[in-house]
Amino acid sequence: MAQAQPERRIRQEATSLAQRLPGLVVAARQVAHTLLHGVHGRRQSGPGESFWQFRPFISGEPAARVDWRRSARENRAFVREREWEASHIVWIWFDRSPSMAFASDLAPVAKIDRAAVLALALAEIAVRGGERAGLIGLTPPLASRDVIERFAEALAANERLHGASGPLPPVALVKARSRAVLIGDFLEPAPAVVESISAFAARGAEGQVLMIADPIEETFPFVGHTEFLAAAGADRLRAPRAQSLRADYLARLSAHREMIRAACATRGWGFALHRTDQSASQALLSLRARLAGPEPISAARSA
């Protein structure tokens, strides 16, 4: 009985993600909203609808670019530039496997809740920023203002139909120069994770990996006779003296992370770790900054 119970609990919580989605939607909206201020456009000229600036005409340009109305006021010719509004696709994926449903006493929320909030908020920000966002395997890229609701509906439908997802992202049709954001705990064996990331990278996608961790996984505060149960499956480990495992565990954990981090670095991907006892907006801000950091330049170059 004791063996079956934790699994059932996690499964229940995982399936109830669909029920918790409305709350998560609100939280995601809030988090996204706090970050939306000051995130307007690309802040550089480019193909777009809205006015950006007038600049003096450089000879050699096509005459059609001259803004005659402006130029008529002065003796010089001016060119009207529009803001650059290139629309990129941000593919988002977050882990909905049973292990994500875990929340220890030290954490305010389950890992999956945090992951969902981050994913939805990121989608919102991306859409507000003029990009399109899509959930890998669930939705096409969307640019609608209610992207959060659309995502939530897709998640809920998928949740009801298929239950929890696998621990690693499915390799979807991610086109080159689109960006992928993978959120999860990535506790699968490191080679599998690396392989999954490189599958994305091989398609030319650039991206970010955000690893979510529960504080208890980081600190391993167990003492005494303890039996560890897996979040899914019947795996269990009985440790007569749990404290003796701590050093080895922490070493292993950091090695595991290091391997993933290295895989990301070699492929030009970003990697970040987020603990569920930290605030979501912090993680989102850094994620967004990293997404928007070097990327627009290369995009501009490519444009």
Partner: protein, 927 residues
């Protein structure tokens, strides 16, 4: 075992204690339950090198606890018995049980002790014989334990002291037949029924056997008599030995067992003491028996009969021809004055000499009204009566004044004195205040008592001492003088009103009361008197049992003759004998008997006496302790393991269920009485509610509820009555007494309520409640036509109820005036008639204006057909729910006013019918 009074029924089970060591080892190597945690990165842990694999040990307190629990279980299985009587032999057991009245106070403990002894014998399969003292020479038979218990349960103490010697031969034969028997004598410790002789004889008879005498720590108390003296009834208490109780209460009860009085007693160091009941003689006369409180035995009960209770007053009047005019007879006044506190005997007409006839009745007071006693046999008998202690009460009169007679306290001057007559200048004299040495001291001498004529005493030395009452001028009015053991009292006036109006006053009664109270019990019989009494056979009427309770006489009680005086015995158990109007009491102890402690010299007296604790089977307690230990262990393990949170409630529930099972198994005694009060009743008792009977028709019920709610609100707004929300009651189940008014809308289609409900409604109406039946059919009624279905339904309902006469509410009925001045009760309709209990017709001679009339109580029933509740009903915003016929806000207001009046009527009753309100009402009615 080990000096402890501990015996094991199955000592072999103790061998299992050796297993405890194995248990220790086993527990030692079994680690405590690990706590389970869910840990997603489990994969990272798997394969780690476990450096320290030593399992944690079970903590030693837990280990100790578990071994203790196991040990307790093993001990319990061995069947330990605490305080078991020594029974490890095969000797026969003979229980001699004193079962006279002296054993009654501690009877329960005696039986419990005997029971314990029998249990012990039954456990070891010994033969048992029971020898109660009251069974006399019956042969003893050895019984097995169960039959001996039955025999023991059938025993009860007898109300007399049985003779012990009669039991000796069977005991001797039993001892001869059973070599080496254990004899236990549960004795009462009182020398009654040859106890001392029996003790000596028994001591010789038990040679070669063992004998233990078991005594209660406190010997019994007893009542050995009661004397109804002047001023107090004195109960004589005795006790057997100084170890007996010293202080307590004697209680006087009347024939119905009602308490008359209590008198405390304190033996101090004496073995006999008196307790006094200082009560009025009338109360003392009511005393039927005296009991010592907390001493339930026949010996501690004293029955009193007519002899000790009443002062018998023989009454004889010299005037013989006044039978035709009894109110003028002096005997009439005397009878009326004496009747409250004395038993009066009058001479039967024409039956020898009346004085001798009356003296044969053994009176304590002989009253002669205006009669002279000429020398002769009657005179001698009377003189003898006084000499031997009787009181002769005489009243003056013309005959006494004329006659020669020495049975007077003072010498009388021949010829009387007339005051205030035609030939006298003196006015009628008043009575002077009573002297301090007078028997009448303390009585008030009222002014209205006047004396117009009297006989005069010859002045003589010592006249003042003999005078108990005198006139204002000092003339003796009542004189008294002792003669022999008795007393002669003379009233110098007649016992009728010809000479004075003293016999008409209350003082006369008080004076006679004191005189009679002064008289002792009837003087000893003179020869020749009472011969008839002696020979009368008196059958037992009610007898005492050993505990001193009166009950039907046993079959073997035989009648007594009138002169029976000996103490009670098996043939004549204590109790009342004779016809109910002339009962004779037979008491356990003779008057003046004493109790002496029995002498058990030479016999072994068991230490501790009856107080040896009964054997206690420890098995359930040990198991209980084991269970508790088990539960503690469970909780501690849970706490140590700190299982995941979800597992805890289940485990806790399991443990609690275990605890409950254990508690019910082992503690069945602690059960609180099931006196729950329903929430509705508790609520109804706190506030006033209007109630309605749910008809079962949802629409009608909801309408009724809303109507009453609206009415309650209106009452709260307009009157000082604070009515809480209405309550639907089911008369068959709910307590109705909380509600002043029950509204019952009649729905014809519904089944009739059960008979029980009707009976309870009837009781509610009888107890002052009011039921308003609303047939709601005013629109369907045709004058003089058939009854409507609702009317028939109501008639059927009320068939079993005592309904008073009804009338249409008269215009001056108080219900029309209780708050508003209204003339009828309108509801949704206004044509229907409202019926109420008919008032008594107004007094035709009463000319005062009475705007409101009321009966003595509130009408238990009001029948209307106007559908009141529908008119009251309003929704939460106060909007009416139903249209009215003919309609209009005025009608709705009048409906509510009618409702207010009805409720105020049930709450205040006929208050507004009081004349105090008449003026206001008239004023308001005129405008």
């Amino acid at each position: 075992m080990l000096g402890l009074p501990l015996v094991f029924a199955a000592p072999a089970a103790l061998a299992a204690l050796a297993l405890l060591a194995a248990l220790y080892l086993f527990l030692r190597v079994t680690p405590p339950r690990p706590r389970e945690v869910v840990f997603p990165p489990l994969r990272l842990l798997i394969g780690l090198d476990r450096k320290d694999t030593t399992p944690a040990h079970t903590p030693w307190p837990l280990l100790l606890l578990r071994i203790l629990v196991a040990g307790l279980v093993v001990l319990a299985m061995a069947g330990p018995v605490w305080n078991a009587l020594p029974s490890a032999n095969d000797r026969a057991l003979l229980l001699i049980l004193d079962d006279g009245w002296a054993a009654a106070p501690a009877w329960q403990r005696r039986v419990a002790f005997a029971q314990a002894a029998l249990d012990g014998a039954a456990r070891s399969g010994r033969l048992v014989a029971l020898a109660p003292a009251s069974h006399g020479g019956l042969e003893l038979s050895a019984l097995d334990g169960r039959r001996a218990e039955d025999a023991l349960r059938a025993l009860a103490p007898v109300p007399y002291a049985p003779s012990h010697m009669a039991t000796l031969p069977p005991i001797a034969r039993f001892l001869a037949a059973n070599a080496r028997a254990d004899v236990v004598w549960i004795a009462d410790g009182v020398e009654l029924g040859d106890t001392n002789a029996f003790a000596r004889a028994l001591g010789e008879a038990v040679e070669g056997h063992s004998l233990n005498v078991v005594l209660d720590r406190a010997p019994p108390l007893a009542l050995s008599g009661a004397d109804n003296l002047s001023g107090a009834l004195v109960a004589h208490l005795v006790r057997a030995g100084l170890a007996a109780r010293k202080i307590g209460l004697v209680r006087a009860l009347d024939a119905q067992g009602r308490l008359i009085g209590d008198a405390p007693f304190d033996f101090a160091a004496a073995s006999a003491i008196d307790a006094k009941f200082e009560l009025p003689v009338e109360l003392r006369n009511q005393i039927n028996r005296l009991v010592i409180v907390d001493e339930p035995s026949a010996g501690a009960t004293w029955l009193t009969d007519e002899r000790s209770r009443r002062r018998r007053v023989a009454l004889l009047s010299g005037a013989s021809a006044d039978v035709a005019q009894p109110l003028l007879s002096p005997a009439y006044y005397l009878k009326r004055a004496l009747a409250p506190f004395a038993e009066i005997r009058e001479a039967p007409p024409a039956d020898g000499d009346p004085i001798e006839t009356l003296l044969a009745e053994k009176p304590s007071v002989m009253a002669l009204a205006d009669m002279s006693v000429p020398p002769g046999a009657a005179h001698d008998a009377l003189a003898n009566f006084v000499e031997s202690g009787g009181v002769l009460l005489r009243f003056a009169g013309t005959r006494l004044a004329a006659g020669e007679d020495d049975l007077t306290p003072v010498a009388l001057r021949r010829g009387g004195r007339t005051l205030g007559g035609a030939l006298s200048w003196e006015t009628p004299k008043h009575i002077a205040a009573f002297d301090k040495d007078s028997l009448f001291f303390g009585l008030a001498a009222p002014d209205e008592v006047t004396v117009t004529r009297q006989v005069l005493a010859e002045p003589e030395p010592g006249l003042g001492d003999k005078t108990w009452a005198r006139l204002a001028d000092g003339t003796p009015l009542v004189t008294a003088a002792p003669r022999g053991k008795g007393l002669i009292v003379l009233f110098h006036v007649t016992a009728d009103t010809t000479w004075s109006n003293l016999p008409l006053s209350g003082l006369f009664v008080d004076m006679l009361r004191r005189v009679v109270a002064r008289a002792g019990p009837a003087p000893a019989e003179t020869s020749g008197a009472g011969a008839i009494d002696k020979q009368t056979i008196r059958a037992p009427y009610r007898t005492l049992d050993g505990f001193g309770a009166l009950g039907a006489p046993p079959a073997d009680a035989t009648p007594i003759t009138g002169d029976f005086s000996g103490p009670a015995g098996a043939a004549h158990p204590p109790g009342f004998y004779g016809p109910p109007e002339a009962l004779q009491a037979v008491n356990t102890l003779g008057p003046g008997a004493a109790l002496a402690p029995a002498d058990y010299a030479g016999l072994t007296i068991a230490a501790g006496g009856l107080d040896v604790a009964a054997p206690l089977d420890l098995t359930p307690w040990l198991l209980l302790a084991a269970l508790v230990g088990f539960l503690v262990d469970g909780f501690v393990s849970l706490w140590l393991g700190r299982a995941p949170r979800f597992a805890r409630p289940a485990a806790t529930a399991l443990l609690l269920v275990g605890a409950l099972i254990g508690a019910t198994l082992h503690m069945p005694a602690a059960r609180a009485a099931d006196t729950t009060i329903s929430a509705q009743d508790a609520d109804a008792a706190r506030e006033t509610h209007l109630a309605y009977v749910a008809s079962g028709d949802a629409t009608v019920d909801e309408t009724t509820r809303l109507g009453l709610e609206s009415l309650s609100r209106v009452l709260g707004e307009r009157t000082s009555a604070q009515i809480a929300e209405p309550i639907a009651v089911d008369p068959a189940h709910d307590e109705l007494s909380f509600y002043p008014l029950i509204y019952w809308p009649i729905v014809a289609g519904r089944p009739q309520p059960p008979a029980l409900a009707v009976a309870r409604i009837a009781a509610f109406m009888k107890d002052g409640g009011t039921v308003v039946f609303d047939t709601r059919d005013a629109l369907n009624q045709t004058p003089g036509g058939d009854s409507t279905p609702e009317g028939l339904w109501l008639r059927k309902l009320l068939a079993g109820v005592d309904v008073p006469e009804l009338e249409p509410v008269p215009r001056d009925h108080v219900v029309t005036k209780t708050f508003y001045l209204i003339d009828r009760f309108v509801g949704r309709t206004e044509d229907g008639q409202t019926w109420i209990e008919a008032l008594p017709p107004p007094d035709p001679n009463d000319r005062t204006p009475r705007p409101a009339r009321a009966g003595d109580s509130v009408s238990p029933i009001v029948v209307t057909s106007n559908d009141l509740a529908a008119a009251w009903a309003a929704d939460a915003e106060g909007r009416p729910l139903y249209p009215l016929v003919p309609g209009g806000p005025r009608q709705r207001e009048m409906a509510l006013r009618g409702g207010v009046n009805l409720v105020m009527y049930t709450l205040t009753g006929n208050y507004k019918a009081d004349q105090v309100h008449a003026k206001d009402l008239l004023e308001r009615l005129s405008h």
